[in-house]
Symmetry: C2
Subunit: 212 residues, 2 copies
DNA sequence: TGTGAAATGGATAGTCAAGTCCAAAAGCTT
DNA sequence: AAGCTTTTGGACTTGACTATCCATTTCACA
């Protein structure tokens, strides 16, 4: 499920062309994160990226195609970062450290904005089937990274083998997404902290030894 | 925090006027749930409600005001339903029954649409401050209903007094919202079930007696 | 039953976004 | 350096949406 779900008909792109394309995607990603997809106009992207209208439509068939590129961009940014963080999971202490990083990041943003993937999914899931599929895949990769971390904890004897890493990873990602959603609405990270803490305490039920 | 957050300047409304207003809100709520707020045009609402354009602007100052009315409408529908369901919480068995109702409802919808309040929050939180405040209040009332149920379980000796109903209720609502978000993207209720199950198992840590 | 307020119908102004088009510049290839 | 492809600029078409306006009908109430 990690195959390329949006096989854009790859035209030949010069180095300069690649740079322009990426500038457009970055600007669009930033604006769409802030204002939503529907709230982001192509003229706004054009100005933010410092390009002309024709360039947007030279590199993307339409706004939907650009949106798919934004999804791929955000997926890579988030899943890569998360995979690195979660790649170090080898103890309950490390799991709590991951929780602290996530919570601190949200606090630093004053709970503004939520999760880019969560927002995109909420806005696009019923509107753009290919976007929904791409985001489903993004979430699968993300929960897969969590699952691998939990599996590692089992392999190292931190958690007992009766833990179900797959199910727990889905639950953890759901807690994270829901926590971010509530934190955004309430401008307060309490719900995010409660959700992640509860999920960690759930995982601790499988701990071989209490504590770290 | 349950005060009226959207004190629309109440004009005199005849019975007929109230009915028309409600027809508009209902139609708008349905369309906004399906297509999002930005994706719902006033002409579409006009046609769905069977009214003329002037009627929409007779009863609402602008689309934002109508959107606030939709938020109030969905809040009442959801929080009322949930409060009734959660009002029966008096055992772990009842908690699991609540979980089953929520999961079954999502399955019946084939995981299409997510939570109306969650979708509205994701779309509007950064765009319409008064909408964000109203939705924050909606979520507080919802988690409050969960908290009351958990408190009742403590009072009845089902859960020990070391359980923190407030924090657990925030975590449970986050798990629900995140589970719905992932279920919508993946068209599969597995994440919702995993999240709710994990949260119930977390709560069971405080059970006085195992089982029911 | 008459009068003013409320409700309704429908046309329309004003704005803005998506996407197209074509000419011109820049860049690669040989 | 010629010739072809890629890239770029920017005007423009088309269409849709928000909101307004005003004439007309319906209704409440005295």
């Amino acid at each position: 499920m990690v195959t390329d779900l949006t096989p854009e008909p790859a035209q030949p792109l010069t180095t300069k062309g690649q740079a322009t394309r990426e500038r457009i995607v970055r600007a669009a990603a930033e604006l769409m994160f802030r204002d939503g997809v529907a709230g982001t106009s192509t003229p706004a992207i054009r100005d933010a990226a410092g390009v002309s209208s024709s360039q947007i439509y030279h590199y993307f068939a339409d706004k939907e195609a650009l949106t798919r590129a934004v999804i791929a961009h955000q997926t890579q940014a988030i899943v890569d970062t998360q995979s690195e963080l979660l790649g170090r999971l080898d103890s309950l202490t490390a799991l709590r450290a991951w929780r602290d990083v996530v919570v601190q990041a949200e606090r630093d943003l004053h709970c503004v904005g939520g999760c880019p993937l969560g927002s995109l999914s909420s806005e696009l899931a019923e509107h753009d089937p290919s976007a929904r599929l791409a985001l489903a895949d993004s979430f699968s990769r993300w929960s897969g990274a969590i699952r691998d971390g939990l599996q590692r904890m089992i392999d190292r004897g931190v958690l007992r083998a009766d833990a179900d890493p797959h199910k727990l990873s889905l639950a953890m990602l759901a807690a994270l997404q829901g926590g971010l959603l509530l934190a955004q609405a309430q401008r307060n990270s309490a719900a995010l902290e409660a959700a992640l803490d509860a999920m960690i305490e759930r995982i601790e039920q499988h701990a071989v030894a209490p504590g770290g």
